[in-house]
Structure formats: C-alpha cells, structure tokens
C-alpha cells in the first residue's frame, strides 16, 4: 500500500520532479495563495500534535492563529520553517516550492521569517549589528567574511530602526534592551530582509498596553506587502488586528472566519472562548 502511495506521489501530474526544477525559482502565487498546508500530521511519542490539518494562507493577508495551549500552533510554525518534519502531509510555499525536506536556513532564504515566542536577539552585540546580521545577502561563509555595508544597506538599517523605534538605542548592546524593545528588534530583524511571509509567535507577550498598541499598528501596516501569520493568546490584541482568524484545536482547524463569526461559532465557544468567559 505504501509502495502504491509512493508511486502516486512520484508520478503526481501537478508537480515537476525535484531534480528537474531549476535551482531557484520565484514563488508562484497565481492563485493568490501563498502557503498551502494539506493533510498535515505529526506526532511526538504517540501524542498527536497536529492531526490532518489543512490551512491556506492568502498572499498579503494578516492571519491570526488562536487556540489553547497544546493546540499545535507552535508545532505548525516549526513545520513550516523546517525545524520539525511532519509524518504525513505537504507544505507548499506558493504553488511551486515544496518546503518539506528543506533546512531552516534554506527556508529562511526563500523569504520566510520567523519570530520566536521568547524574544531571541543576539544579546552580546549592538542593535545595529543585530540588524546588520539580518540583512538579506548571500549568507554562505566566504561572502560573509568579506561583507561590508554599502550605502543602500545602511539606509535600509536606518529605515528599519525608524520603523521599530530603536533609533536612539542602535549603539546599545541588545541584551540591555527592555523586553518589549527586544520583541521589536526581533521583528525588525525579520523585516529588514523583506520577507514574503512572516510568522510571528506571540508578539505582544510581556508588553505594556502602549507597546501592544504600537505592535498592532506595525503588524497591520505590514500586511499587504508581506503576508503575516500571527499566533497570539491575547484576545484583545487579536480583535484589534485580525481580519481572518483560524482557531486550532487539538492539532486541527476548528473554525475559520472573521472574529465575529468565530466568536459566535458554537464549537469555538465550547472549547476555547468558553473557558475564558
């Protein structure tokens, strides 16, 4: 049976064999969909973290993923960014780029940026150097050895420093920033490479109300040029930014739609919103 499946997979008529594909192809979004996740399943030691999940992210949209702890949100991000290999299913970036089997670095260089749940920046280096490291360029070893900043790149760093509001702090060591500032710096590090898809895991955790508001503004302004997927627990925040919300429950999609629809969905009320109200 599995041989038959393999055969079918190999002979798929909608795909070109990997080795026939040109080495780097532009992502194809003719159907206005940037990320295709189909029939995805993964289990760890018998625990099904993701089970038969289907999710499509439109090009240029701002999507919020919500769900209780253990609903599979972070695992989903791990799979899309290449950290975890799923048991079954497929993940395509655009119509033509298969993300499964690619390493984290390859996926990042395709234009998929990821912000971690816990703000992760290079604490021993200055804010400026952090952004410099995140610039998009040939990231193999020899080009890195001889790399120096050109005017265009300097302007880009300045531009991002302004967007994330850390212009005054650019000479500071990143480890000395406040929690919220680190969150922004990490978002800035993703932005600077101008990614096609941004995966943002709990961006406002530990932020003050004012900081949260600014983050909401920032993320909404990004949508359109970039596709943004936000995982968040803070319902207030989700309400303020979301146009489309996907609710995950026990590793699969429970509901999808506008915040209004989702809130009135009886299943959702029962398993998720019901708990907090």
């Amino acid at each position: 049976m599995s041989m038959l499946d393999n055969m079918r997979e190999t002979m798929r008529r909608d795909q070109v064999w990997n080795f026939l594909q040109p080495p780097s192809v532009a992502v194809n979004v003719d159907k206005q969909i940037l990320l295709y996740i189909e029939n995805l399943s993964v289990s760890f030691d018998g625990f099904k973290a993701i089970s038969d999940l289907n999710l499509y992210i439109n090009d240029g949209e701002l999507r919020c993923l919500i769900g209780a702890n253990g609903a599979g949100k972070t695992t989903l991000m791990d799979i899309v960014t290449g950290k975890t290999t799923p048991d079954t299913g497929s993940v395509f970036f655009g119509q033509n780029i298969n993300l499964l089997g690619k390493t984290e670095a390859e996926i990042a260089n395709l234009g998929i940026g990821r912000k971690f749940q816990k703000p992760t920046v290079f604490e021993a280096q200055t804010v400026y150097a952090n952004l410099e490291l995140a610039l998009a360029y040939n990231k193999s070893i020899l080009p890195t050895l001889i790399a120096s900043l050109n005017g265009e790149q300097r302007d880009r760093i300045d531009e991002v420093l302004n967007i994330i509001g850390l212009r005054e702090q650019r000479a500071m060591i990143a480890g000395a920033l406040s929690h919220g500032q680190k969150q922004w710096l990490e978002i800035g590090m993703l932005l600077i490479a101008d990614p096609r898809l941004l995966l943002v895991d709990e961006p406002v955790a530990g932020m003050t109300a004012q900081e949260t508001e600014r983050t909401a503004e920032l993320l909404t302004s990004l949508a359109g040029d970039h596709t943004v997927v936000v995982v968040e627990h803070d319902m207030e925040f989700v309400r303020s930014i979301a146009r489309t919300v996907t609710v995950l429950h026990q590793g699969s999609v429970l509901a999808e739609g506008s915040m209004q629809d989702v809130q009135n969905n009886p299943d959702v009320i029962e398993v998720y919103l019901g708990e907090s109200h």
Partner: protein, 396 residues
Amino acid sequence: MTGNSSLATKQHTLAQHTLTQQLSPLHQLREKAPMFIAVLFGVTIYASICNQFVPQDSIFYVSTYSITLLGKYLCFALLALAVDIVWGYCGILSLGHGAFFALGGYAMGMYLMRQIGDRGVYGHPELPDFMVFLNWQELPWYWQGFDQFWFAMLMVALIPGLLAFVFGFLAFRSRVAGVYLSIMTQALTYALMLAFFRNEMGFGGNNGLTDFKDILGFDLQQDQTRIALFITTAIILAIAYCASVMIMGSKLGRVIIAIRDAEDRSRFLGYKTEIYKVWLFVFSAVIAAIAGALYVPQVGIINPGEFSPLNSIEIVVWVAVGGRGTLYGAVIGALLVNYAKTRFTAIMPEAWLFALGALFVSVTVFLPQGIAGVLKENNWLRRLTQRTAQPAGGQA
C-alpha cells in the same frame, strides 16, 4: 530649534560613522593588534639580544634554556588562541584540542626523524632507530615524503585539518552540542592516544619520536637555531593573532558570536550554522597543529602523552584563566599558567595539580571573565588610547 536639530543630525552622522567603523575588520585590527604585537616583539627581541650579545655573567643575560622555555610558552599561547577561537567565540567547548596539537607535532617530528639520516644509533640510512629496533625492513608508505620540508609542513596543516573537518562535519551536522560534544572530543583525543601508543602504528610507540639532530640543515642544539625557532614562533603567533582579530571583527565573526548566543535565531535568519561551525573548527585545529609543529623542534620530543585528555583540559584552564572571547586573554592565560607550572613543578612537583585545580576554581568563582575581564574593567591604557584616538568624539 533649527540649530539644535542640525547639531543632532551632525551627532547622528558622527555616531553612525563610529558604529559602522566598529563593524570593519581593519578598524578592529588597528584597535587591538598594535599593543599586542609591540609587547610580543619587544620581549622576543629583548630576550634574543640579551642571549646573544650580553656576557654570561651579566644580570641581563638570558640563558638559552630560558629562550627555549619562552618559545615553548609561545607555542602554548598559540594553542590557547586556537581553543579561544572555538570556545570563546562560538561556544564549542573542545576538550580535544591536544589531539590536533599532537598531530601537528608528529608531522614535524617525522620530518625531523628523517633528517637524522644515518646518524642514528643503528646508523640505518633511511629507517628511524625505532623501526630498525622493531626489525622493519622498509619505510611504511605514510612515512614517504616526510624527508621534504614543504611536504611535512603541508601535512602539519592538512592531516589535523582533515580530521577536524570530518569530526566537525559529523558532529555539527547531527547538531551535537554542549557537554556531549566536549565528551566526544575527549574520546577523540583518548582514542588517538591509545592508537599512537601501539608500536605497530609506526610512530615510535610510547617513546614517540626524539633524538632530533637538525632542522633545514641547522643544528637544533645551537643557540642561534633556538633563537630563530623562538622568533619564528613569535612571528607566527602574531600572524595568527592578527588573522583571528580580523576574522572575529568581520561579519563572519559576528555571525559566529550570533551562533554562540542564539543558534536557532541564526538558522532562521538563513545562516547554515553547521557549515560555519565546521570551518571555524578546522581553522582552530590548523592553528593548534601549527603550534604543535613549532613545539616539537624546541622541546626535542613528541610522544603519545601529548594526546592525553588531561593536556586538553589544561588548555581550557589557560583560556579560562586568561579570559574567554578576547584572544589576548588566552595568550596571557597560557603564559601565566605555564610560568606558574614551571616554577611550581621545580619547587614542589606533587602540589602542582592541586594548585592548578585551585587556580581554576578560584578563577571561575572570583574572575568569571578571567584576567582579561579585570584588565577591561579598570583599563587606564584603554582610557589613554581612547582619549588620543578620538579627540573630536570626546566633546560631543
């Protein structure tokens, strides 16, 4: 108001300038190397002159024994530099760098062995003494070519470099890190030690290689040869130091520090961290091997004891004492600890290991940044050089 803002812009461009300047490797070199090189060559040249031109009964006379000792210390400094590169900058705690050091030493030892020619105890024109003793009839294939200096030097870098590449590739690709990697490096050096102890390996068994006569035609017992070796070691240490400062000051160095602090983040930014780690490990191994190759002609022997896991741990102690991640700290640490070792083992040899242990514990507890950390905190030199270096910046 307009005056204020134009001043602000001016300050901004000035700060911008220093910020980008800090990111340039040449700037780093100008900042960090001159002092180091001045002290290194100052001492080297002073010691050499005092050995050659000062009469023996003068208090300024430096004995040839001291010259050889200093040369040995500089080899250890080079070795410590190699460990600091991987441990201090990339967080790879290698407890097996002694292996690369010893392999480099063996390659040099093989060349020196071949130079003995028919002057050995058994007077065989081609075979080293230990092979004649073991009734070997001909030179094993892996000894071929070592009568050529260039070939031996190539092997000094190539063999340890290759070993580091294979080991690093397998370990880093499988994402082995932290204490597991340290244990594997210990196992590596221990396995090599056991292998080199065997007579059948063809490297002289537990006696190793010794009884060297000359290098490139110069008698190893002569004062001038010893001084030349000492100065060569100093020059190579200076080159390795400058190369390391430039690499660590380049964007490559910043990526390496980034990998140390947040490997996942670097990966998700698109850096293939395992490739970076492998090549850094190879670079470090080659420096350690060169240190070994310089060490052997100066001490006159290489044996499997150099592979002993304890030696590799000692190197880590030198770096910890001197201060990690500063390069010059590793050099200072190696020099100080080895000087202490020489003095201590002369006065009370049994106590040395206890003293070393106490040193390591007290440094970890009281000086987590090592000696370099103390120097950084109250550095009158730095303040002095900063004042002279940027007179304009001081006013803003």
